[in-house]
Amino acid sequence: MNTGVIYTETVVHAAPAEFVADAPYQLAIVSLDSGGRLTARIAGERVKIGDKVELVETRDGVEYFRKQ
């Protein structure tokens, strides 16, 4: 649950009303090493498909991953 690989990603520039202050932010679908996929935010350095990532924190119900 704490580590995985980037399956796909994007950097959101046009955000929904609730997240306008966060933009631009990177969003990714992480293939978890423990199985399954999760849509999460990326903290810190930008990631690309295939990068290994680890969970940094869960804030407001959203998982933040960063490059390993």
Binding site: T10, P16, G61
Partner: protein, 386 residues
């Protein structure tokens, strides 16, 4: 099952109309359609309405009888269908089912959305509700973001490029410029498409369909009664609606819309045709990548080759199998609930030979493909002349 035919079509222009209400748009399309078919409100036996988010966009619920009443239509079943961007297609599928089953003879189907009265961030938020709000939505996924992630994966797996995406936008704008009802009647160049403002990487503003107001309507009847209403009936040869998971991260392979593939297989089987028989198609290009994937899922081109197919001009107006001759959602506009019904109007118009400057050379067998969300609902309809 009884064969079903479209005997009337009606559309408003798609665009930003600050002075128009949701109801007035739907009524305009409905009245045009009834005039086209020579049908009076008292003859209509049921009303099926496609609308995604009228309650959120304009604060009005109970929309089907609300609109029907303004069309002079009471005393019949009036029902709203919500299936995200496939709301119109879903309303149409269920209307066709009721006529095919013999439950109704003369049925009005309309689709409508009034979107431009809200700010873009608010529209983005409402549209995000077509995804999984407890998962991807909570993380900040917009619809452009979901399709951007689909595009990134398609690029990774198949070598699709931004030029491939841009080729779809350039072609659809060229077609839309000739469509008198299109929202964006402006030709764009490849350079402009590639240099557009970034919305969600790698998608620029030119990869995204438009936020529009608009409505569309059709009247369907059993084929055996079609001649009472028109000399140019358009037959529904095959139709299917299918579903898949709402959340993008729940799908095994996001470079394909499995529901579209399944709906196409069913619709082709019902129509006794195969993909290669289809002469033209209106597909759901909510984003440029969606048109590329649609050409693959519908079987027009091998998986992964949709980008090259677009770049080589094989989907253009005078190509062998034109895609989105109307300008597509990209240029025509995408008033969400109206889109699926509008596609049926556009395909029917081509089959009737009434598409003017956009009239195709081969127009006897066409297809409409409507997609909801990031692929959780798909409707595919195969239509032909008599």
């Amino acid at each position: 099952m009884r064969p079903v035919a479209v005997v009337g079509i009606g559309k408003t222009a798609f665009g930003a109309f600050p002075d128009r209400t949701l109801r007035s748009l739907a009524v305009e399309a409905g009245e045009k359609c009834m005039t086209d078919a020579g049908v009076s409100p008292s003859q209509i036996e049921a009303f099926y309405l496609g609308n995604f988010a009228g309650p959120a966009f304009v604060g009005q619920n109970h929309l089907a009888p609300y609109i029907a009443g303004s069309l002079g239509l009471t005393g019949v079943p009036c029902t709203r269908f919500e299936a995200a961007c496939a709301s119109g297609g879903s309303a149409f599928f269920h209307a066709v089912s009721s006529v095919a089953a013999g439950l109704n003879d003369i049925v009005l189907v309309a689709g409508v959305e009034k979107m431009t009265s809200q700010t873009t961030p608010k529209v983005t938020e409402i549209l995000a509700g077509a995804g999984d709000m407890a998962g991807e939505g909570r993380a900040g996924a917009t619809f452009p973001a979901l399709f951007a992630m689909i595009a990134r994966r398609h690029m990774h797996q198949y070598g699709t490029t931004r030029e491939h995406l841009a080729a779809v936008a350039v072609k659809n704008h060229a077609n839309g410029a000739k469509n008198p009802l299109a929202h964006m009647r402006k030709v764009i160049t490849m350079e402009q498409a590639l240099a557009g403002k970034m919305i969600s990487e790698p998608l620029t503003v030119f990869d995204c369909s438009l936020i529009s107001d608009g409505a569309a309507a059709v009247i369907i009847v059993p084929l055996e009664r079609a001649s009472e209403f028109t000399d140019l009936p358009v037959r529904i040869l095959g139709i299917a609606q299918t579903s898949d998971y709402v959340a993008l991260d729940a799908k095994a392979d996001i470079t394909t819309f499995w529901a579209v593939h399944e709906a196409a297989e069913k619709a082709y089987k019902m129509a006794h045709v195969s993909a290669r028989d289809i002469e033209f198609a209106e597909v759901h290009d909510c984003f440029t990548i969606a048109e590329i994937i649609a050409t693959e899922d519908l079987g027009f081109v091998k998986k992964g080759e949709g980008g090259w197919y677009a770049l080589e001009g094989r989907t253009c107006l005078r190509a062998e199998r034109p895609i989105n001759a109307s300008g597509g959602l990209k240029a025509k506009g995408h008033p969400v609930g109206a889109t699926g019904v509008g596609q049926i109007c556009d395909v029917a118009l081509q089959i009737r030979g009434g598409a003017g400057e956009l009239q195709l050379d081969r127009h006897s067998l066409g297809l409409a493909q409507n997609l909801g969300g990031s692929g959780a609902t798909a409707v595919v309809t195969v239509m032909g002349g008599i």
